[in-house]
């Protein structure tokens, strides 16, 4: 199997199949020879109570361009040399990876901050709608006030 190569310093993807985390990080590390630090964040579906599955829906004309613009903003704001933002869509079960963010910079603090910034914005500003299946059926997940507080940190 050919090894994954990242052609662009900002690699943003929406995928309806599992995230190949190790492969993504190896390829990002290989592509980021000039970086001094790479920070990665893997978000997983929490095994919360009786949640059996989580489904993410998106709107193609907006969701991917929106996340690309977010990655671009993060690159400028934190002087990143590159970033990986891979987000799952479709149906997932608890324990599965839902989002992978990796940021590369000359210095670690920029990389840490950028990963935090990207996650806060992906959670509450990306065009993604989530619902979870519990014993009694599907339930849409409402916006949470904590997400808005998280976003306000960056204003």
């Amino acid at each position: 199997m050919a090894r994954l190569r990242l052609e662009s310093p900002l690699d943003v993807r929406l995928t309806d199949s599992g995230l190949s985390v190790g492969e993504a990080l190896a390829a990002f590390n290989a592509a980021q020879g000039g970086a001094g630090a790479i920070v990665s964040m893997l978000g997983k579906v929490r095994p919360d109570g009786d949640v059996k599955a989580l489904e993410l829906t998106h709107y193609k004309p907006l969701t991917l361009p929106g996340i690309q613009a977010l990655a671009d903003t993060a690159r400028n704001r934190f002087s990143l040399t590159g970033a990986v933002v891979w987000h799952r869509i479709g149906v997932m079960v608890p324990g599965e990876a839902i989002v992978l963010v990796a940021t590369a910079a000359l210095h670690r603090r920029d990389a840490f901050a950028a990963a935090d910034y990207l996650m806060d914005h992906l959670k509450s500003a990306a065009w993604l709608w989530k619902r979870e299946r519990r014993a009694d059926g599907w339930h849409w997940i409402e916006p949470r006030s904590q997400d808005h507080a998280d976003l306000a940190r960056w204003k």
Binding site: G43, T57, P61, L62, K123, W127, R131
Partner: protein, 80 residues
């Protein structure tokens, strides 16, 4: 020809389907009228946005969709 209206997230449950064709041209008042009172009530919520032809409208009441346009009704996105 018509305008294709997409109901995203929980709006699809309220509308009873994920998409509908509504005769063009379609403006804000025509949309409220066409989607029924329940969805119309949601659309009036300031947190609900509307995209036309791939662009989110800064002011949704200025909607003017023509033949073949896609109009997406965007409820607040879910939190984490």
């Amino acid at each position: 020809m018509a305008v294709r209206v997409l109901f995203l997230g929980p709006l699809a449950d309220l509308a009873g389907s994920a998409e509908r064709e509504i005769p063009a041209p379609l403006d804000w008042l025509g949309l409220l009228d066409a989607v029924g009172p329940e969805v119309a009530g949601q659309l009036r919520d300031e947190r609900v946005h509307i995209a036309c032809a791939g662009r989110v409208l800064a002011d949704k009441t200025t909607l003017t969709a023509g033949d073949g346009d896609e109009v997406a009704l965007l409820p607040p996105v879910s939190g984490g």
